[in-house]
């Protein structure tokens, strides 16, 4: 309470009644308030910046992700990188790939680009699709709800990984990025729609919805201007927790050879190539593995923290 009332002293609010602000700035402050989440967010910001400025970053290090560097390899050891730890040196910060000598740091940075592009696009599509269909199912109910809910059940029950493998292999090889985004979105939206549907149903029963109808609001307006603002917190949390899932799935598909294919840099596909070199050059495996693990973990930590801030009763899942 900052502005005192003109005639009456403002009454104190107890902690439970104090409004929980949902501004972006206060959420950010809340995330940074826990050191674990602050660390995770910091890591994600660094990776995101590297991904965005990938061409600039590789220009600085002087290595692009595609060119072979035979000079960095030791022909006597069957093409293993020269030097310890997979050839980590001032020139190649995270070493080089065995046999062809491509710079691992450059490939990690460009791989982050692909991962983030695919995961964030799929998240945007699933959030829009899941929120819209979830709200329609939850608010309209009846037959519409039955149709949407059965479709969600079907997609959720589907062995999605097997289907993704089949689908991507069968489809013409046009644009792997686009195909991954479409397939991930197709199987991803029901996870969001399911939660949104449930919340919409409970919000639709609240008195303010009825008050809006009594005020003359149409159904569309009830959904978009009364119910949607109350879903904002849930949507933020769901989106943050969806991103690591998509990054992981994209890496998994690329590992299986049906995601992004060489020479396009991708973390999952790097891990796949590293498997056969694991005993001779473990760093080749450890580096992309560590980046992938840390990225997924960081998104989860930040997502859990956001959930705790937005809905304290959930107890962070």
């Amino acid at each position: 309470m900052t502005t005192p009332s003109a005639t009456a002293p403002p009454e104190p609010l107890d902690a439970a009644e104090r409004p929980r602000k949902l501004g972006l700035l206060s959420l950010l402050r809340g995330v940074v308030g826990s050191w674990g989440a602050a660390l995770a967010l910091g890591y994600l910001v660094v990776i995101a910046l590297l991904a965005i400025f990938a061409p600039l970053v590789t220009a600085i290090t002087g290595n692009d992700p595609y060119s072979f560097n035979n000079a960095a390899l030791d022909p006597n050891l069957g093409g293993l990188p020269k030097g310890a730890l997979g050839g980590i040196s001032a020139e190649h910060w995270l070493g080089v790939e065995p046999q062809n000598g491509r710079d691992i740091f450059a490939r990690i940075v460009y791989g982050a680009r692909s991962s983030f592009l695919i995961a964030l696009s799929a998240t945007a599509i699933t959030v829009v699709l899941g929120t819209t269909l979830g709200m329609i199912a939850g608010f309209v109910g009846g037959k519409v709800d039955t149709v949407i809910s059965r479709l969600m059940d079907l997609l959720l029950a589907f062995p999605s990984l097997i289907f993704m493998i089949a689908l991507i292999s069968a489809l013409p090889d046009v644009n792997r990025h686009l195909m991954l985004i479409i397939v991930l979105s197709l199987f991803g939206w029901p996870y969001i729609a399911r939660v949104i549907r449930g919340q919409t149903m409970s919000l639709a029963r609240r008195e303010f919805t009825e008050a809006a109808i009594a005020s003359g609001a149409s159904r569309t307006r009830v959904v978009f201007s009364e119910i949607l603002p109350n879903l904002a917190g849930t949507i933020i949390v769901l989106a943050t927790l969806a991103v690591p899932g998509y990054i992981g799935t994209e890496a998994g598909l690329s590992f299986l050879g049906i995601g992004l294919v060489a020479p396009a840099p991708s973390w999952g596909q790097m891990i796949w190539s590293a498997v056969s070199w694991f005993t001779q050059d473990p760093m080749y495996f450890i580096i992309p593995g560590a980046f992938l693990t840390l990225t997924v973990l960081s998104f989860m930590v930040v997502g859990d923290r956001l959930q705790l801030l937005i809905d304290p009763r959930s107890g962070g899942r």
């Binding site: 502005t3 303010f208 009594a214 003359g216």
Partner: protein
Amino acid sequence: MSGNAPVLAGKNLTRRFSRRASFGRTETFTAVDDVSLELHSGETLALVGESGSGKSTTARMLAQLITPSDGTVELGGRQYAGRRLGEFRRQVQVVFQDPFSSLNPRHRVEQIISAPMRYLDLPKPAGGWTARVKELMERVGLNPDHSQRFPSQFSGGQAQRIGIARAIAVEPSVVICDEAVSALDVSVQARVLELLRELQQQDHYSYLFITHDLAVVREIAHRIAVMSQGKIVETGDRQQIFTNPQQEYTRTLLAAVPQIKYQRAAAAGQAAPETGRT
């Protein structure tokens, strides 16, 4: 009361609810059974009854929030349905029971109070809704500087004043108060009832007051309709119902009121410590 045509009338209203029982059977329950009510211009009609008597269902049918299974709702002798429901809402507004749950927690007060004007497509003033909202806040005894706050930043009594400001924003002729003060404590109740009475004197609103609280009825009602088990058992002037009830049920209802409540309400009328301006 005057004998002119009623502003709002419910004719033979019936509402049945059906629910699925076990083994695929459907059970039907009649919540409101052939109820007719007339609300005259400028009067306060209290609809009283115990929980489950069907008074809230009746109110929601009269507000056209639920459709009657049988019977009609007429405003000024005409029926409004479908596309013309907007014209009805322009004249009939509702104040709800729970002041917090009836205000959207993610909307600011300005958005809440201007909602009926926006939803009913009233012409937007040149400077936006702010000036009109502030004027309404002042009318209901709220500090107009608080128009950018969220509902959770107000006390129960203040929140109900927001609900009242919203209801009168489109200058309706009828305000249906569904247990509008029962969630408030007695001293705050008295102040909110006082506000409603003031507004009625200024703008001649007709109130349909749904309540189970006879102390409230005694405060505000001109006429009283007593409901029990989905039917209206007795209708009459306040004086007549309180002093000379005709029906056994009304007598039981009056006898069931703890006497202490009148004294507390009366005492609260003089020194009410509710915050906010009045």
